[in-house]
Symmetry: D2
Subunit: 328 residues, 4 copies
């Protein structure tokens, strides 16, 4: 039994930082810098995991993490969506630091037959793609555009071939200067589902994502830098069960006078908790996701925000004013 898969899980560095902070009894984690700002209802967090120690404590790869947290995105407000797209585009551009002629391959991970896992393919579908124009019709390409290709190999993944094998093959043939991987994530907290976007230069970690990607996509495996853009669209059922137990215990401890409780839960170890959750979620176990019933409209909206931001960040010739014309 792989008891690890019965732990609380988050693909967000921001949440991992909070969890680690609580365990450490403070908000400071050695080897990790965090800077927070607020802008028009968007909480922006810039995190830098600087060394192996910080990486180990947080259980996240060393590198930079840029997170946009927008609780109000839940209430389908077109104006806020527009604002988020704008800020996201501006920050992404700064994060990428592309040189003028750099070419980019966007990889939309995930399975488009499973709605909460379809973010990557949806973004790819909406993206403005130009690489073929540079190759076959160079005269029609105006100043201010760069070669951008985009693939959604996840549908391939379900047909007997590992996503990473496909991406590796394509990268070797088209040799982009940068890979940008888009993926649907699992967050620890329901509040962050569909309201948070994370950008990181660490690439994709094996085991992350809604569908548990088996292998990583990063500079080690692909040979080119990989920036990952992720949005949590689910919480693991295991996480929800953990939270239920913790909340109940906390409630009992609050309600019950004296030290009866200390005795009560003395022997209720992390391992016992996992066994209880395993029992609870069988026969489907750690393969269960919790997601809102309206996931279809949320994911459509956030895919537009991401695709729009990518179009603006990748091409100098596209401004937020005319970005809508380039959304496919």
């Amino acid at each position: 039994m792989d008891w690890n898969s019965y732990s609380i899980r988050t693909d967000l560095a921001l949440e991992a930082h909070q969890l680690a902070g609580v365990e450490q009894g403070g908000t400071e984690i050695p080897g990790v810098d965090v800077e927070q700002t607020d802008e028009s209802g968007i909480h922006i967090s810039r995190m830098h995991i600087k060394d192996m120690n910080g990486s180990r404590i947080m259980n996240k790869m060393m590198g930079h993490y840029l997170t946009f947290d927008v609780p109000e995105l839940r209430y389908k407000d077109p104006e806020l969506q527009h604002k988020v797209a704008e800020v996201f585009a501006r920050e992404l551009k700064g994060f990428l630091r592309l040189r003028e002629k750099d070419s980019v391959l966007v990889v939309g991970l995930g399975n488009w037959n499973v709605t909460p896992d379809a973010l990557g393919p949806l973004v790819v579908e909406k993206l403005f793609v130009t690489r073929h124009l540079f190759l076959h019709m160079p005269d029609v390409v105006k100043e201010g555009f760069r070669p951008v290709a985009a693939v959604a190999p996840g549908v391939l993944g379900i047909t007997g071939v590992e996503t990473s094998e496909i991406v590796k093959g394509i990268v070797e043939h088209i040799q982009p200067d940068l890979v940008i991987a888009i993926d649907a994530l699992a967050s620890r907290s329901l509040e962050r589902v569909n309201t948070t976007i994370q950008i990181t230069d660490t690439g994709i970690t094996p085991g992350a994502g809604v569908g548990n990607r088996r292998k990583g996509l990063n500079i080690q495996t692909l040979g080119v830098p990989v920036v990952a853009i992720g949005v949590p669209t689910v919480v693991d059922a295991v996480t929800i069960a953990h939270d239920t137990i913790d909340l109940l215990i906390q409630r009992i401890e609050r309600d019950v006078p004296g030290n009866t409780c200390a005795q009560l839960f003395e022997n209720f170890t992390e391992q016992e908790k996992k066994q209880l959750i395993h029992e609870l979620l069988q026969p489907l176990g750690q393969n269960l996701m919790v997601t809102p019933k309206e996931i279809d409209t949320f994911i459509e909206d956030i895919a537009s925000v991401v695709a729009n931001g990518l179009n603006v960040a990748l091409h100098d010739a596209i401004t937020m004013e005319d970005a809508a014309m380039y959304l496919q």
Copy 2:
């Protein structure tokens, strides 16, 4: 606050019967007949809720419920799938008792942009439809077929029109002798997700289904008999939270000697449980579903079983041997 929506929920009469039985302290419920048989790994349960009393206790409509429970369906075994399709077709035919010339409208409920809610539209897509042939090319229709139309109004429902309004409009115009409604359901237990099929002559109850249909589809609202075929594809997150709490309390009661526990949970009423779950699942609340990550392949498979069974049950000319040729 509608605390009812924070109760344990099941759309399956079989599970409602078990829940009610436990509360009643036995398996006998007045006003309800149940008959169970087993056939090649398929548990078949025939339930008849005969009076208002039974209906009230079970919180299900009066009528007949035929349930197929096949735990092994989880392990994608083509031979078992074939066997289930066969038994389902035979039993459905018996359940429907159609007269030779009866025409049928199949309604695939649900939203095909949300994978676990897409069962209805998927079945409709796979069904062999004949009504237009009877109308426009009566000569090509051979003996042994009946007029069958099929609609998937759920995509319409997400565009500003209530599903029931659309179905009512269509029923009034084409006047079928029977409506068969297909819907994805919520079960109480994870074990039943994607492994159970329920047929009932009560039609669709308001509030049932993955997407919480607002209004019922039944003989009262449509003016023609409605048979509903449902498959649980999700469990409500609320239900999982309830089960976590119950399992934890049960575990503590087992582990803790004496009557400390009795005192402990004395005041932990049903209402407090719901409040705790409400807190736990906010801000998304009762609108969360728990579903397997591989929901896409499960739902494809079970939609084939249902569509195949319908083709055989509706048309005398289609046998299990040649049924595959009629699957669209």
Copy 3:
């Protein structure tokens, strides 16, 4: 044999007018007013078929036709597309003359499994729909919006039920003040494929559209006014064959001196032409469409233009500046 289906066909009043004009030996047709303007590369034509005589000559219903002809749309220019969306929105608003509280049902005709016939469903998918908000959450609806519902019954049409029956049923239940029907059309000329938009207050004529809708949708059949918006996405193969023959005969007449030709084609009547085309196109006959291989990107683009224009024209609160945020 229905030889009529072997005639040259156009769903565009503009083309019917040109054809009739040529036959009449001039551009004036009694009972028909035409006014042409040009604006930023968009040819706008306002036609009014005022009486039965004009209607008979042109073989089009009496009413108003507003046509936008933009040959350069072929060259996927985002700026031109934006300009067309703007002009289209402004003119559509003027054409509709809606009162403040009028409710609208948008009907996307066509089969979304056949790319050149998918315009209607695509527009419906992209439209901003509000009717359910007015019904269920009236507080969240701001000033300047009206109730808009949208359905795509064509997928239903292929499942044994006539599109017009479904639309009639829905109209009776939700009682909109206006129906707007979107449809893919057949033009006479390849130049107009994907570059022309027609608005008319005559509704949908039986037999028009890519998939040959069997019945009309108009004030007579639905009981409410119907505005139709159409874009030609195909030319009938029959039309191409006619044109080939005419062009060849014309070429021979030009090349051959004397009156040999007069004799030659003396006996080559319209009926003989149709027989030749029938022979040529068998066994598929009049059911063949000619369409560009890149029809998928064209139809996506023009569906965005139409959906965008509808959003702006239907809701005072949506301006061209923020229209992109409302595109689904």
Copy 4:
């Protein structure tokens, strides 16, 4: 101007043979063997282009071509479809001559957003895929199955990356013993649209297919043998125009006495014909396809026949009797 693209075109060796035969004034073409048989309404043709001479005359690659021609497939007869699937499976198995442990990669070419070009992706979607089972769950794989992977790179092709680059990358990584490429083709004759299946060991020729694949997929480019399976789903508009001209000229020649005609068409060269067609089809030119309006149902049906045949031909453990259970 590339006048070649204004020639009559066929992707079928069978039709190329007939065309070449006519030009040669007989049915014998040097370097080409043909053998024809009939079985239950299915015309089977086995052609072997043995040398460069035959290849040059026929304008087709050297190799074997196996063609199934079933005119009655047009009339959607489930029993005939079943028979075709059976014969196709048997013959395909013989054609492939796979060794017991050979692994196979099936490549579904084409763009699934354009209905007549979607054959490849549709077959891939329906195929029974096993490679991942061999890799990750070898115990569950029974005797009689082989590793089969399947990809549909065409959707990628529209996103800036050449299909052949993607396939090459995948082949290098997973190293199959055989590639089977599925593609929608253009035929010369309308009769063959949706009624013919061609199998060949020459792979995919550059420029063939509905969407004009730019590069070939064959043993030279991929390094492994490539079998191509194709079904014509369109006729080029250029071909229809050619046929119209030829039929008209033939009719005139029949009707007009004496040798007026000889003089008349004396100067009407092949080049002039192409110029006339170019003029006729502008501005869309050689990029126009002619296809039936019901292409969606035809292509679904024939994709099932092909996927079914592949399942049976690739896995000894799958027989025609239980093949339906393996169709996805």
